[in-house]
């Protein structure tokens, strides 16, 4: 029988654990879960495809947006945000689960920086979102979607979508740590996305809405971000929409990152 040694010299860490190594370890953990947990896999594959097809074929026949020849060109940039927003709700669920199962207790007893567990989650989300966006572009292309503003703008659009995902991941980490219960965390993550989605320019131009809703819809961050994505995908003036979107995202990150890290530092399972 093997015996376990208490004093094995090579198994005793003498130095602080490098931040990037611990982030990479946590990222790998979340990517493994992503392909092994059925609901996570569905959120990352079936759902984005369904969104593209459902909205294109259910609404596309009825809606004609002035200035765009194909509804899918108008629709797809907004559907990026919707799919990423729905996927991000799983991040709140996951951190709440880690909290209730005691995983956070264990992580917090390890010699790693507080942000590593959260950053590793966000990094895994970003890789998932890269896959999700690529998948939607693939499916969209098959049914008529085209980039109209050149490869540099297309790349910028994908980057903006991914940064939006990063901000939403941090928001959902904060929500999951705040509500603590996995089911509530899922609802807390989805609710704002659903409300903001239907009151945004994702499906229809803001100009078609009643006056009282237009003011809200114009200020709605999903409208702002979708507007910037659309400008980068379809062409047209990009500077102002991109700046507005960037301002929203920086603001969101500036609030959620420190709040989530602070919340994590005090989180325990009961």
């Amino acid at each position: 029988m093997t015996t376990v040694t208490a004093t094995g010299t090579d198994a005793r860490p003498g130095r602080p654990v490098p931040i990037l190594a611990s982030v990479a370890t946590i990222t790998a953990r979340n990517l493994r879960r992503l392909v092994r947990v059925p609901t996570l896999l569905v959120f990352a594959t079936v759902q984005p495809v369904l969104f593209v097809l459902l909205f294109t074929y259910a609404f596309g026949g009825a809606i004609h947006v002035p200035g765009t020849a194909h509804y899918i060109d108008y629709l797809l940039p907004g559907i990026f945000v919707l799919a990423i927003g729905f996927g991000a709700s799983q991040t709140g669920v996951a951190i709440a689960e880690d909290l209730t199962t005691g995983m956070i207790d264990r992580f917090r007893s390890l010699p790693i920086t507080a942000a590593a567990v959260l950053a590793g989650r966000v990094a895994a989300d970003a890789l998932r979102n890269l896959f999700v966006v690529a998948l939607m572009i693939g499916v969209g292309s098959a049914i008529g979607f085209r980039f109209h503003a050149g490869p540099a703008a297309a790349l910028a659009a994908m980057t903006l979508a991914l940064v939006t995902g990063v901000a939403l991941s941090w928001l959902n980490l904060l929500l999951g740590l705040a509500v603590r219960d996995p089911e509530s965390a899922g609802l807390a993550g989805l609710f704002p996305v659903i409300i903001l989605f239907f009151t945004s320019s994702t499906l229809v131009p803001v100009a078609t809405m009643p006056g009282w809703l237009q003011a809200f819809a114009k200020a709605n961050p999903i409208t702002v971000i979708t507007g910037a994505l659309r400008a980068l995908c379809l062409g047209g003036p990009t500077t102002r929409p991109a700046l507005e979107a960037t301002a929203w995202l920086i603001g969101l990150l500036a609030v959620t990152v420190p709040a989530a890290v602070a919340s994590y530092r005090h989180a325990t399972s009961t």
Partner: protein, 331 residues
């Protein structure tokens, strides 16, 4: 290893209106094993969480291996292993993957983490399941994996919060064996448990904790002795009412006798040691009673525990001074 493994002074912690800890003092010398006994809600887990840097105390201070847990948690975390009350393992990773992940987070290289994980998997009898997702594990296997995770970096100070809860007798014995080996090699261990046998078997010193306070501490032998004199066990003859034995000897008992009518047994707490036996014989003879057997013994740790914490299901906690009259050193 000059610094004590654990020192706690006057730890206090409130959650809302609930006082979880009300001034806990502890000391564990380097290389020692401290068993923390207490009923549910006594404050054991809160104490462990403060010492493992997960919670900040409202008052009091604590040091682990010389480092202040509040002002220097990062240094403490490099020296501890923690296995909490519930198995904190990822259900969607294999056993092996869980351990390698924890090893990497302790700063081991991939090779070191794999080798160490492999050793622990063998020792904790998980080899046949190491490649399976933890989701397929039994509760006992998850528990053993969780303890393995706490041992990954060979920490000099180990916190185990009810480590054998949910283990079958074989798993419990195997874990006790592992822990005995570790502590004999110098690992300091703080163990919370509700299992008296576990505390007695592993711990050189025991603290009994109740309502957020240390209500007794000492070696298992000291606690048994302080719990009050001796216990007199009587087995009545078949067909005889054991209550008659209890009545005949009631004047000698220091607390209410326990009568088990179905088994025909009586247990009396008594003072005075073996010197009391002639008096017992005289009283039984005077009452015309005979017994099948009679034995005088020290209280078990279980009885000591009940004496200190009050009967488990009966209302408010007893004051230690009343239930254990001869407790000069008890705090």
């Amino acid at each position: 290893m000059a610094d004590p493994a654990i020192v706690a002074e006057g730890l206090g912690k409130r959650f809302g209106h609930v006082t979880a800890l009300d001034g806990v003092d502890l000391e564990l010398p380097a290389g020692g094993v401290l068993g923390m006994l207490g009923p549910n809600g006594a404050g054991k887990t809160t104490t462990v969480r403060i010492l493992a840097t997960l919670l900040k105390p409202d008052r009091g201070r604590a040091w682990v291996a010389g480092f202040d847990v509040t002002s220097n948690p990062a240094s403490v975390r490099r020296l501890i292993g923690l296995s909490g009350q519930y198995a904190a393992v990822d259900l969607f990773l294999t056993g092996q993957e869980n351990l390698v992940m924890i090893g990497r987070l302790y700063g081991l290289t991939r090779r070191q983490a794999r080798r160490r994980a492999g050793d622990l998997i063998d020792v904790l009898d998980l080899a046949s399941a190491a490649g399976r997702l933890v989701r397929t594990y039994s509760g006992g296997m998850r528990r053993r994996l969780d303890v393995a995770a706490s041992l990954l970096a060979a920490p000099p100070v180990l916190f185990l919060d009810e480590p054998t809860t949910g283990l079958d007798p074989r798993g419990r014995l195997a874990l006790w064996q592992v822990l005995s080996e570790l502590t004999s090699q110098g690992t300091s261990l703080l163990l919370t448990t509700q299992n008296i046998e576990e505390a007695e078997r592993l711990a050189g010193r025991i603290v009994i904790i109740g309502h957020g306070k240390v209500i007794a501490s000492g070696t298992p032998g000291q606690l048994r002795a302080r719990a009050g004199g001796h216990r007199l066990d009587l087995q009545s003859l078949p067909g005889q009412d054991p209550r008659r034995l209890a009545d005949a000897l009631a004047a000698l008992a220091t607390a209410a006798p326990a009568v088990d009518e179905a088994a025909g047994r009586v247990m009396l707490p008594v003072a005075g040691g073996a010197g009391i036996l002639p008096e017992v014989a005289t009283r039984l003879a005077a009452a015309g009673l005979h017994v099948e057997s009679l034995a005088l013994r020290r209280p078990t740790l279980e009885e000591a525990f009940l004496a200190y914490t009050g009967q488990p299901a009966s209302g408010p906690p007893a004051e230690p001074a009343q239930t254990a009259p001869d407790t000069p050193g008890a705090r």
